[in-house]
């Protein structure tokens, strides 16, 4: 069951260039930290997918083991765990996040 969840998470992570595990949806984030993460991704103007962990208790718990990270949101770029909202903010402000997206060859959002 747990292994199953981990496999399911890995599959989802690998299926997206940029993926955010969050509480709520991009249009209706259910937590300030998730809201901040979405704002950053929108500012960067990249295509991203999102998973609402509130819709799936298995993933909500499983994602914490997957990355050994206790909180949500969690950002993944090209299958790699980048960090939570604090790291995202820090990297966004320093320009590192834009650089990382560029290096990873992430698709820009269509205007």
């Amino acid at each position: 069951m747990t292994e199953d969840t981990q496999a399911r998470i890995a599959e989802t992570v690998n299926a997206h260039e940029v993926l955010l595990f969050m509480k709520g949806s991009p249009l209706f984030p259910q937590c300030g930290f998730s809201s901040r993460a979405i704002a950053i991704l929108e500012h960067l103007g990249v295509e991203y997918g999102s998973v609402d962990v509130l819709q799936d208790q298995g993933i909500r718990q499983g994602i914490k083991q997957f990355s050994d990270w206790p909180t949500i949101p969690q950002l993944y770029v090209k299958g790699e765990f980048v960090g939570g909202s604090d790291i995202m903010m820090e990297m966004y402000e320093s320009g590192e996040l834009a650089e990382l997206m560029q290096k990873a060859g992430v698709t820009a959002k269509a205007a």
Binding site: K64, P70, T71, F81, V82, G83, D86, I87, E90, M91
Partner: protein, 79 residues
């Protein structure tokens, strides 16, 4: 549920003894904190790993009792 700022400092220092910890109570409600943790032991360590070390020191309270802890980590400036 909430945690006292002092308690957070003690826990972080128990895991990272040389850490310089600065806590700000963001909302004044003892529940929304910002922590800045500076430690020489972070040098050469990835940001994710630095945060993981703080979370380890907090012993599973992060995401539970401690819902809202904004975390910044850094290495001390070289003289």
């Amino acid at each position: 549920m909430a945690m006292a700022a002092d308690e957070i400092v003690v826990l972080i220092r128990s895991g990272i003894p040389d850490a310089d910890v600065e806590i700000t109570d963001l909302a004044g409600d003892g529940d929304h904190y910002a922590a800045r943790v500076v430690s020489e032991s972070f040098r050469g360590v990835s940001r994710v790993r630095q945060h993981q070390r703080v979370y380890e020191a907090l012993g599973g309270r992060m995401g539970g009792v401690l819902h809202a802890l904004q975390l910044t980590t850094a290495v001390p400036p070289t003289e």
